[in-house]
Amino acid sequence: MVVGIVLISHSGPLAAEVALLAAQVGGAGVPLAAAGGAEDGGLGTSPDLVAAAIAEVDRGDGVILIPDLGSAVLTARLFEEERVVVADVPFVEGAIAATVSAGAGSPLEAVLAAAEEARTFRKL
């Protein structure tokens, strides 16, 4: 079993870098895609990029969408269904926690719970 993860950001480079970081920390075996920025590469969110990213990481065990803010959140919510869930979590920490959990073969609910725990994780 492997849950897919899509990072949705207002910024293309931000989503791509967080995806790199999460893959490095969480293991490379997790289907992880970045869908950041508008179609033209500027700031914004592209539903077409999000749809393609979901299709890319979906292995049949569910997909977690992690948005950063604004249009990323609203665009993510357009794709909500039974096996595609939006995680209301910190973008960087949530992405890493979800990737680690998905890499361990956890089911969708457990990956979501792991991402949500990142919200209360203290740094100091």
Binding site: A38, E39, D40, G42, L43, G44, T45, S46, P47, D48, L69, G70, S71, L74, T75, R77, L78
Partner: protein, 208 residues
């Protein structure tokens, strides 16, 4: 109101959004990310091009196409929000070729409900809901009192503009401006402003 009426509404909305593009972006520069006018203009321009290529057969099909196109092309938060509004409106209309004034009111109500659900926004949060909600209420009141569509949509547009102006002293609780806290006070919400523009376009077309 037939498909041609709704097409005219969308074209008038596109014309007004293009004319007010810089003003909307300026409002967004004060409390957001300075792209609302540009984004919405891009979306409506794409909508007009799509409709010019092939006009759908029914009001419902037209509004659904408008919604889908806005979601795909706007690029900012207003894309999913307006896109959802038009798609939820579409769902209430079935295959009817003609929409009654009461049917239009129900459709707008469904569009408002879709926006509120997607954005988790209520009146007073300093969002487009602050223009849309009073407009739908005013439209229903006017129609129930027997007003003609041109008067009723005119009253709704006035309520939307008043609702948008009433966002100026509000502190944002939803959307990008909510990150600014008290700094969001003193500025008109760009989403409420564009919602008032789109409802003013509706009244303009209804008065023709």
């Amino acid at each position: 109101m037939d498909t041609a009426f709704f097409t005219a509404w969308i074209e008038e909305s596109a014309r007004r959004v293009a004319a007010e593009k810089d003003w909307l972006t300026g409002l967004d520069a004060a409390i957001g990310d300075a792209d609302h006018g540009t984004n919405l203009d891009r979306g409506f321009t794409a909508v007009v091009q799509t409709l010019a290529a092939k006009e759908p057969d029914t009001p419902a099909a037209l509004l659904n196409l408008v919604g889908v196109t806005l979601i795909r092309k706007v690029g900012g938060a207003s894309g999913p929000l307006y896109g959802t509004a038009f798609r939820e409106m579409s769902k209430t209309l079935g295959d009817d070729a003609e929409v009654s004034p009461a049917g239009l009111c129900d459709a707008l109500d469904a569009g408002l409900a879709g926006v509120q659900k997607l954005g988790s926004a209520a009146e007073g949060d300093k969002t487009m809901v602050d223009a849309l909600a009073p407009a739908v209420r005013e439209l229903r009141r006017a129609l129930q009192e027997g007003a003609e569509p041109r008067e009723a949509t005119g009253a709704a547009a006035s309520a939307a503009r008043a609702g948008a102006k009433a966002t100026i002293p509000m502190q944002a609780r939803r959307g990008r401006a909510s990150y600014l806290g008290e700094r969001s006070v003193g500025h008109e919400d760009p989403g409420a402003a564009s919602a008032a523009i789109i409802l003013t376009a509706l009244a303009t077309v209804a008065a023709r």
